[in-house]
């Protein structure tokens, strides 16, 4: 009896481990490649472990692009972007989940439909808007277009909906206004979901370069991912250097993830509600 339990566990872990390996491999490859020489990085067929690991690529990458300045800009953009987005998103998700007003679901459905329009089409007009607003080549241009996200609102609304209404009622009885309920009850309870969304958002901000290369011209205002372009040009890509750059770029996100992971996973489990 106990053995089958044990076997089940082993199979479970095995599947997870294989899956984890498959998911993890590209990341591993990024690191490995960044430690190779140019010759080895381009070798066909590729070698798994570098014959001789070298940190030259990192040295080179750090020398080539003003990573420190980019880093500063990235941090500013990400912090502002995530903060404002989360604020907007929380308010909107709350209105769309717990407040009741006629047309709510229709308006929301229309908004969701807006997600279906390809980004490429939006960019054309948004670019003009940014220029018209006089925000071209400013850090603000990297922030405001993304602070109202239907996508995150959609996700968060879903999570807010799963918080029982009786807690809303309970807070109202206790005299809390909608605003107080939102910040004192709903947000703390939905913290795991919020952290998840904030993390996704942070990663998206951090890595968003398509837009930033469009609206940013001056080195002063450029963000980290821009540093990666230093390794791609018309004659080809220096993968080993690119990977070193990429590793440097994503490092903060990994650290962020490792910090946030705990709150994603250990959700506030329910209890205190009967029936």
């Amino acid at each position: 009896m106990k053995n089958t339990e044990r076997n089940k566990k082993i199979i479970l872990y095995l599947i997870l481990a294989i899956g984890a390996f498959i998911m993890f491999f590209p990341f591993f490859w990024m690191i490995i490649t960044s430690l190779k020489t140019g010759f080895e990085a381009n070798k066909v067929p590729p070698t798994i472990f570098p014959a001789k690991a070298t940190l030259d690529n990192y040295v080179y990458a750090l020398k080539t692009a003003p990573f420190l300045k980019y880093f500063k800009n990235s941090v500013i953009v990400t912090i502002f972007c995530v903060t404002i987005t989360m604020f907007n998103t929380i308010l909107a998700a709350f209105a769309f989940s717990k407040m009741r007003f006629p047309g709510r679901d229709i308006i929301f459905a229309a908004l969701v439909a807006m997600m279906m329009i390809p980004f490429e089409m939006l960019i054309i007009t948004n670019y003009s808007t940014i220029v018209k607003l006089g925000l071209y080549d400013t850090i603000i241009a990297l922030i405001i277009p993304f602070t109202s996200s239907i996508f995150y609102t959609y996700i968060l609304r879903n999570f807010f909906m799963s918080v029982p209404d009786s807690l809303y009622h309970s807070a109202k009885i206790d005299g809390a206004s909608d605003w107080q309920f939102l910040w004192e009850i709903l947000v703390p309870i939905a913290k795991p979901s919020l952290v998840t969304i904030a993390l996704l958002n942070a990663i998206a901000c951090w890595n968003s370069f398509l837009w930033s290369i469009l609206v940013i011209n001056s080195t002063e205002n450029r963000t980290l991912p821009f540093g990666l372009f230093a390794f791609t040009n018309e004659t080809g890509i220096r993968y080993e250097r690119l990977m070193a750059g990429a590793t440097i770029v994503v490092l903060p996100m990994i650290i962020l993830f490792l910090f946030a992971r705990k709150s994603i996973v250990t959700g506030v489990s329910r209890g205190g509600l009967k029936g």
């Binding site: 009622h169 009885i173 005299g175 107080q180 009850i185 489990s269 329910r270 205190g272």
Partner: protein, 353 residues
């Protein structure tokens, strides 16, 4: 605060949970809400608190129409039937929350919260999360949370259902005390009649969303408005003899006697009626002439509870334990004036004298 409801109605789709209820509740009283499961007690409280918007009708607090006021503006305290504690807060934080909202200073709210925690005997658990508490402990937290903020109207939805007898008595006395001292109008849902009569000034009895009777507690027992009330209130259940009103008396089905009592019912001859009598309203005196047969008998303290058969119906009464009773004995009984009522069989309405 005086509470008045006018044509209060709540429908959930097809279901009518509360049906056109009109009543006025005196200020500072404790009103017990009684009724079978699903009769609309919780719905009623939820409408009073503002959680549920009403379908029709109005609610007044004192003279003010609060029908459209949101719960946070009504200043009510509510113990939810399912507690609805905040899962992410500790017990202390849960109790403090209403005070925090009221911007009571931190020191003061903790002090007050602790005081109420002590009152409901949960002072040891202040730092636990709700899910780390037993059912009864959670319920007590909910009580403390509702009481701590000095509400203008207190609504308690079966607040003691998960407590043991001793604690239950203690809690209800505490609630009663606080209610008296603060004079807060209080609605108290309970399924326990003993509890209801022990603490309430008034009882409102509901059935299928309709109010059956709203009256002083003892009046429900002594002056039931209809058969349902008479039947619902009291233990053992009131005796019911169905029959026809003939010749100034009741001819019980399956029996030939015409039972006469010393009431002068305003009832037409030939009506189908129900003669209802409390067990203690049955007399066993020498002059009594209604013939019955003993079916069962139990000793109950100084008395014997006898189960008697008359026609197709049973009847319970208390007889002195010293009197020897055997099953199958014939026993003559009589009816007192008090505790004996006549109802229309069909509508359940009471015939008065």
């Amino acid at each position: 605060m005086r509470v008045k409801v006018k044509n209060l109605t709540k429908r959930f789709g097809e279901v009518t949970a509360v049906n056109s209820l009109t009543a006025e509740f005196e200020s500072g009283k404790l009103i017990a809400l009684l009724g079978p499961s699903g009769c609309g007690k919780t719905t009623m409280l939820n409408m009073l608190s503002g959680i549920l918007p009403v379908t029709e009708g109005q609610i007044f607090f004192d003279e003010k129409d609060v029908t459209d006021l949101t719960p946070d503006k009504r200043e009510v305290g509510l113990v939810f039937q399912n507690y609805a504690l905040y899962p992410h807060m500790t017990v202390l934080e849960n109790i403090c929350f209403p005070l925090k909202i009221k911007k009571v200073s931190k020191a003061e709210r903790i002090e007050r919260a602790k005081e109420f925690a002590k009152m409901v005997h949960i002072e040891e658990y202040l730092n636990r999360k709700p899910k780390e508490l037993s059912g009864g402990q959670q319920q007590r937290v909910a009580i403390a949370r509702a009481l701590v903020k000095n509400p203008k109207l207190l609504l308690l939805d079966e607040p003691l259902s998960n407590l043991d007898a001793k604690l239950r008595v203690e809690m209800r006395e505490e609630i009663r005390r606080i209610q008296r001292e603060s004079g807060v109008t209080t609605f108290f849902v309970t399924h326990d009649q003993e509890e209801a009569s022990a603490i309430s000034d008034y009882i409102m009895l509901m059935k299928l969303g309709e109010m059956q009777q709203y009256d002083k507690t003892r009046n429900l027992y002594n002056q039931p408005a209809n058969l349902f009330v008479a039947d619902f209130i009291g233990s053992p259940t009131i005796n019911q003899l169905h029959g026809v009103y003939t010749k100034g008396g009741i001819k019980v089905d399956g029996d030939n006697q015409i039972i006469k009592t010393n009431h002068k019912w305003q009832v037409e001859e030939g009506s189908r009626v129900v003669l209802a009598s409390r067990a203690e309203a049955i007399t066993f005196n020498d002059k009594d002439d209604v013939k019955t047969k003993v079916v069962e008998s139990y000793l109950s303290g100084k008395d014997t509870l006898v189960n008697l058969k008359i026609g197709s119906y049973n009847l319970r009464g208390y007889i002195d334990a010293t009197k020897p009773i055997k099953i199958g004995d014939n026993l003559n009984i009589g009816f007192k004036t008090e505790g004996v009522f006549l109802f229309d069989e069909l509508t359940g309405e009471r015939y008065y004298e």
